[in-house]
């Protein structure tokens, strides 16, 4: 019996507008509870929603970047249910006419490329937060988040396994951060996803009953939850039962999914068009302006790095995949002639430091100007590559200027051939045994002499020159 898995993802991305979808309340994260709550966010009697056009612009950017159909006339519906963090007792969403329809995203999983189609993406307001653990027998409600704009992105059920699901989520995250429509901060809840999982026998046309895994917000947990759920469903069917269509929560501690407590009747949301919100129209002119303001996307960057800058494929891929890396690369490259060297160091030494400290490049002390300068100093032979490593470490700690460090520490590479020749001669003369051994055939000893010269010069000798000079002297 071979089973096939069918997975669809519903991703909720918080749009990075300053104010909420229907009110002037601030969307800033981390504020003191209930300080960013406007009268409208509260759902007070008599208040009315007014749409934030920036949210539409951001949604449209997503649509354009995924080749989707843009509905320039958007209407809104009410989804009715009761929950403490839903102040009005309904959520304003787009059921019948979403702003974005269709579109697709390329993903890379298991070394192969796959296109995942998007069914729709629509705007809706986020709910507040219910805090369950602070008080005995009570739940606290913080409405700061209520009304924040969300873009709900629904994929076609074309994902076949957990790895693809993670790849898809990553691809969406990369895209929304590049487009500057969502900050992609998973820890802060800027992106959450619900996963629909079902299984069917290979070859079966009909899809199996699906379970919805709710509100998972880490790549690791998505993978684990899906794999657990697939196993669970297989066990259920093989034992003769059928999978129940239900919502399940993933428990990361126990690594299992369990059914959410909710009554069947509670699921009738009674959607109907929101009578307070007339349709919002985005004009052709606005659409054109949005098109023109789209930033360069990862794939475009990658191609450009390869064809225009001459990077190799793997470097290009790595740098273009992260907005902050790409920014660092592009800005630093304006400060030096050697963009390829910038890339090499970025992918190599800098990435190693980032991993060690577990930070993003934006959080480091390395500014693009300084980085560019560092590379330029290597390129113009002011310092050797080896010295540059220690300079980089210094900059990493202190953020000090590259030239200042080189000057203060006297790290300038010794270029003057006559000095090097003198030192090399001295080294050769002080090590007669090694000279004999070398001339006798022990070629590996050459590096001994190089090492000695470097030691004498405190690493400041230009390695290339040292090699040439020693070769002349010893041969």
């Amino acid at each position: 019996m071979t089973w096939e898995t069918v997975i669809g993802l519903e991703i909720h991305a918080q749009l990075s507008t300053k104010s909420k979808l229907f009110s002037g309340g601030s969307t800033e994260f981390g504020a003191e509870s209930n300080t960013h709550v406007d009268l409208i966010d509260m759902g007070l009697p008599g208040v009315l929603p007014v749409a934030n056009k920036e949210a539409f612009y951001k949604a449209i950017r997503f649509g354009l970047a995924t080749g989707a159909e843009i509905n320039q006339v958007s209407s809104f519906d009410r989804k009715n249910y009761f929950y403490p963090d839903l102040p009005k007792g309904y959520q304003i969403t787009q059921m019948t006419k979403p702003i974005i329809e269709k579109g697709s995203i390329k993903i890379f999983a298991d070394d192969s490329e796959k296109v995942i189609n998007i069914t729709r993406a629509h705007l809706e307001e986020d709910a507040g937060k219910s805090i369950h653990d602070l008080f005995e027998g009570e739940t606290g409600v913080d409405l700061n988040r209520a009304g924040t704009p969300l873009l709900e992105i629904v994929s076609e059920p074309e994902i076949s396994n957990a790895k693809e699901a993670v790849a898809y989520f990553k691809a969406v995250r990369q895209l929304v951060t590049f487009l500057d429509i969502c900050d992609g901060n998973m820890a802060q809840g800027s992106m959450r996803c619900d996963v629909n999982v079902s299984i069917k026998k290979s070859g079966d046309k009909e899809l199996g009953t699906r379970a919805e895994l709710k509100n998972i917000n880490s790549f690791k947990f998505i993978e684990k939850a899906i794999n657990y759920e697939i196993d669970r469903q297989i066990r259920v069917i093989e034992s003769g039962d059928s999978v129940v269509q239900e919502t399940r929560l993933y428990d990361s501690e126990k690594n299992e999914t369990r059914s959410m407590r909710s009554k069947e009747e509670a699921n009738d949301y009674r959607y109907f068009p929101c009578p307070d919100l007339l349709p919002v129209v985005i004009s052709d002119k606005e659409l054109q302006e949005i098109k023109e303001s789209l930033p360069e996307l990862p794939e475009e960057k990658e191609h450009r790095y390869i064809s225009d800058v001459g990077l190799d494929e793997s470097e290009a891929k790595i740098i273009s995949s992260s907005k902050t890396m790409a920014n660092m690369f592009e800005e630093a490259s304006t400060k030096t002639n050697d963009a390829k060297l910038v890339a090499k160091w970025l992918v190599g030494d800098v990435s190693a430091l980032l991993n060690k400290d577990n930070i993003d490049i934006e959080e480091s002390n390395l500014s693009p100007e300084n980085f560019g300068k560092l590379i330029e100093r290597i390129s113009d032979s002011t310092i050797s590559g080896k010295i540059a490593k220690s300079v980089l470490e210094e900059v990493w700690e202190s953020g000090s200027d590259v030239d200042e460090i080189v000057e203060t520490k006297g790290l300038v590479q010794i270029q003057d051939e006559s000095i090097l020749v003198e030192i090399a001669k001295k080294v050769v003369e002080s090590n007669p045994d090694q000279v004999t051994a070398y001339k006798g055939g022990k070629d590996k000893l050459f590096s001994f002499f190089v090492g000695q010269v470097m030691k004498e010069t405190q690493g400041k000798a230009n390695p290339k020159s040292v090699n040439e000079i020693l070769k002349k002297i010893l041969n």
Binding site: S19, G24, R261
Partner: protein, 93 residues
């Protein structure tokens, strides 16, 4: 409009009908539905539903923060709150 339907829509609306009023409410609702059923005699194929009598589109707002910090006033008018949160009986997920 049977008892089960009334129970379902009551729950959806978070309303409880007193037992002694149950029969009357069920009858009332049934009569009202019968009354509005006459709409089904009309042919409305190809008619676009009218949600709002204004046939126009919405004005939108610019993305600026205009709200003040209303924490104190809002928590004050709440039936149950502490200095930071609105409070409800503990919710179990």
């Amino acid at each position: 409009m049977d008892k089960k339907t009334v129970t379902t829509i009551s729950y959806l609306s978070r309303l409880k009908i007193d037992e002694e009023k149950e029969e009357k409410i069920t009858n009332d609702l049934e009569n009202i539905i019968k009354f509005v059923d006459q709409l089904n005699d009309i042919d409305t194929s190809d008619i676009e539903p009218l949600t709002n009598p204004l046939e126009k589109t919405a004005k939108t707002r610019d993305d600026i923060v205009t709200a003040d910090n209303l924490k104190k006033e809002l928590l004050e008018i709440a039936p149950s709150s502490n200095e930071d949160y609105f409070l409800v009986p503990r919710v179990v997920e």
